[in-house]
Symmetry: C2
Subunit: 469 residues, 2 copies
């Protein structure tokens, strides 16, 4: 394995030459906010932070780092949940925060060309003003970058109807570790021209190149939506209701699951009393439908209500106005923060075929009993994507950083057995890579490592993420 060099004063001077003096940080204090993301309590200080704002600058930085064998870590909004943007080897951290321009909203073709440092919600709002819709919608949308979403192939609540980031990316401008710049595809909805480099880059967690321009497809903005919150007396039956709704022919635009603790904790955290949780309620489903015809949405809501009434539920809360909808969505979106505020935790991003959710949930709880941990589960149930938050609680250091790993491995082995995988939308990064062997055999892992080597022969770009190589 290549040995990295340390960043020297000469390197810093060269970076200042490329990006401008004020856009290169080398003092610990200014760099400290680049030392972590939202993943547990990981902390890695880079040796230097550089903030380019043109493709040419990124190319020059990569050339320098390639020549000098400096480790490079690309970074978006720093909201990642698997440590993908952390400078594990120190070196040069490239912050994409100044790539913050939406280049063109093409209303004729329903496309947007953007730089990667645009905040996802800002992009969504900008296209919304034109009557257009970019559905992928992570909980962190108010602070995450669209480029980071591409690196992690993010999802969010709308994925159940509209798909994930990969389903919207048409074309990417990519700076390779050598400094060469390519476009991965074309600005078209159908493409059978060579290997799909675009889809290879989406979800590659910044290990293959640095994305500097993004072309996304958009769809017409649905004009209406309806939202309801359904309380269940059993968490497993809430999970079972999810697939029953789809089997009845409905495709909700969101179908979110929250265990009792999740909703209770977030209600306290945001000091909301909008949802009264009865004693015997164990879980909730938050269900949205959207479209252009209000009368159709009413029919669908009634149809879905009929399905869930076949389970042991409490009283359904139908959101009456946009304020109440916002309130319910706020609760769902801030669950992760609330859990974090409540206790140190590890978040597992399990995903299974949706009808297997009840088995997964039961398995998680059984494994928790075996290893003595409590978990709070919530997530995008319509996609079979369950976020399992393992609470530190009273676990000892040895349990937390020792035997718990075996418990997590058991959860992931169950996920695999159910046809699922270990990350639905958070990526592998640093924290899940030791579990990759559960999903991929050595042949597949070797293929991935060789692909990495093709793009990054000197192995300088985000090394140690996804796998060791």
């Amino acid at each position: 394995m290549t040995t990295f060099n340390k960043v020297t004063a000469a390197h810093i001077a060269a970076l200042r030459e490329i990006a401008g003096t004020q856009y290169v940080l080398a003092d610990e204090e200014s760099m400290s906010r680049y030392a972590q993301d939202e993943t547990e309590d990981l902390h890695y200080l880079p040796e230097v932070v550089v903030k380019p704002n043109t493709t040419a600058q990124v190319s020059k930085i990569m050339q320098l780092c390639s020549q000098e064998l400096l480790p490079v870590t690309p970074r978006g909004g720093g909201t990642g949940l698997s440590g993908g943007a952390l400078a594990q080897f120190g070196g040069v951290l490239i912050s994409m925060e100044r790539f913050n321009r939406i280049i063109q909203i093409d209303e004729r073709n329903l496309q947007v060309t953007t730089e990667p440092g645009v905040i996802t919600e800002e992009l969504q709002n900008a296209v919304k003003e034109k009557g257009l819709f970019y559905p992928p919608d992570p909980s962190s949308r108010g602070t995450c970058f669209i480029g980071g979403n591409i690196a992690e192939n993010s999802g969010g609540p709308k994925a159940v109807k509209y798909g994930v980031v990969k389903d919207y990316v048409l074309n990417l401008e990519l700076v390779l570790p050598s400094g060469e710049v390519i476009w991965t595809g074309a600005n078209v909805l159908k493409n059978a021209t060579g290997y799909n480099l675009t889809q290879l880059v989406v979800g590659s967690e910044g290990t293959l190149g640095i994305v500097t321009k993004i072309v996304l497809r958009l769809i017409p903005l649905p004009k209406n939506d309806l939202l309801m919150l359904v309380p269940f007396r059993s968490a497993e039956s809430a999970c079972a209701a999810v697939s029953a709704i789809f089997r009845a022919g409905f495709t909700p635009s969101a179908m979110e699951f929250m265990e009792r603790d999740a909703l209770e904790w977030v209600s306290q955290y945001v000091q909301s009393s909008s949802v009264k949780i009865e004693e015997d309620i164990q879980a909730h489903l938050l269900i949205e439908v959207d479209g252009n015809y209000p009368e159709v949405l009413m029919q669908e809501m009634e149809g879905i209500a009929t399905v869930v009434e076949g389970f042991d539920i409490g009283e359904i809360l139908f959101a009456e106005d946009s304020q109440q909808k916002e309130e319910l969505w706020k609760l769902r979106r801030r669950v992760a923060e609330a859990v974090k505020a409540n206790s140190v935790y590890k978040e597992e991003d399990t995903v299974v075929p949706r009808a297997e959710l009840p088995v997964l949930l039961k398995g998680v709880k059984d494994i928790g009993k075996k290893y003595g941990f409590h978990s709070v589960c919530y997530g995008h149930a319509g996609d079979g994507n369950l976020h399992v938050n393992i609470i530190r609680g009273t676990l000892t250091e040895e349990q937390w950083n020792g035997t718990l790993r075996e418990g997590i491995r058991e959860i992931f082995e169950l996920v695999k057995q159910l046809g699922g995988t270990i990350s639905g939308e958070h990526g592998i990064g640093l924290v899940q890579k030791s579990y990759m062997d559960i999903i991929f055999d050595q042949t597949s892992m070797k293929l991935m490592k060789q692909i990495k080597q093709i793009f990054d022969p000197k192995n300088i770009l985000n090394r140690g993420k996804i796998f060791d190589c």
Copy 2:
């Protein structure tokens, strides 16, 4: 470059041992139907044809060919339009026709697991019986294989609303050229676990491995549809209407364009008098909407009619019943055959952002004038996917196989300039590979060739397709 060996009697005996005597063909007469596909008039006879029906057999065949340096060509239904299934170097042709079982329709998870040799229409019908829908729908659906569709990332008329093959593939069992067998992903709707090997294989035209099992996602079957045929007095304005319809907020489930000649030729070919084409009509749009609510579909049809009435059109034909719908669809589906029956032709599978269609169409005609060829254009206008059929007519041999190449290059350069690419759904195969330089620079081409090398270090599998390597 590796030099291939010739197939010997010993190799044939070994193949018979693996697949069974009756499933190995080595006489010219039996093999002749494997020597061509639907691409122009290409003809390459393999040295031996083998028809395995298990993954283990495919693995053994690949091991043998790898060890003996025999060229291998995988083949589906033989309906390809770019020569991808042709045994350019002779050698071993693996016909997947006996991989014809639908393994499981999973109604709980809206998924199907199938072998690759299942005919696309049969798969569609099987899931339809369960109220489920697999939308990708090439014109050849009655004879093409689902495995071939994956190799070419096929589309078809429904792609405009529902996406192409890549949007439905969740997981693939793949036999590598070494004989090793991997699964590329997991059976889930969201996946952020390592590089997307699944999407790398989709559209790779059988150059990376042989797909032996396929997991597809399905959606609920829409209960209703409506269809109309709109005649335009100018072909360019028909193209312009396409993007106007989307900009008005409608997403039809099909939006097909046919030039006058296309519809006239196919009407003669199938001896149909169901459409009367007025003298001054230059092109038609066939527009479908689908969904569960007939009253909504009526509203959408009326909305779309209002948009097209803003153009210079003739009388709209609304299909009155399922028989008339079928008749109109038959005309559209059989255009390619009709053109083929009319004259030798070359088909170009151009695709651009949809609002650029009028510019593309005008450009194609202008280039045709310059080089002296007539073209008949039709295709999936909603996706910006225009099939340009260049008619041999009275062109000399020198024009047809000589200067015409420059004309095609000019068309593809225009496509590139408009943000498009040279194949939307037919693939590159043998016939378009000399134009790849228009779309991809040397750096991208090198990446693709290196990816090929990782999967196929001895370069035995479908060599010479997509690019020379």
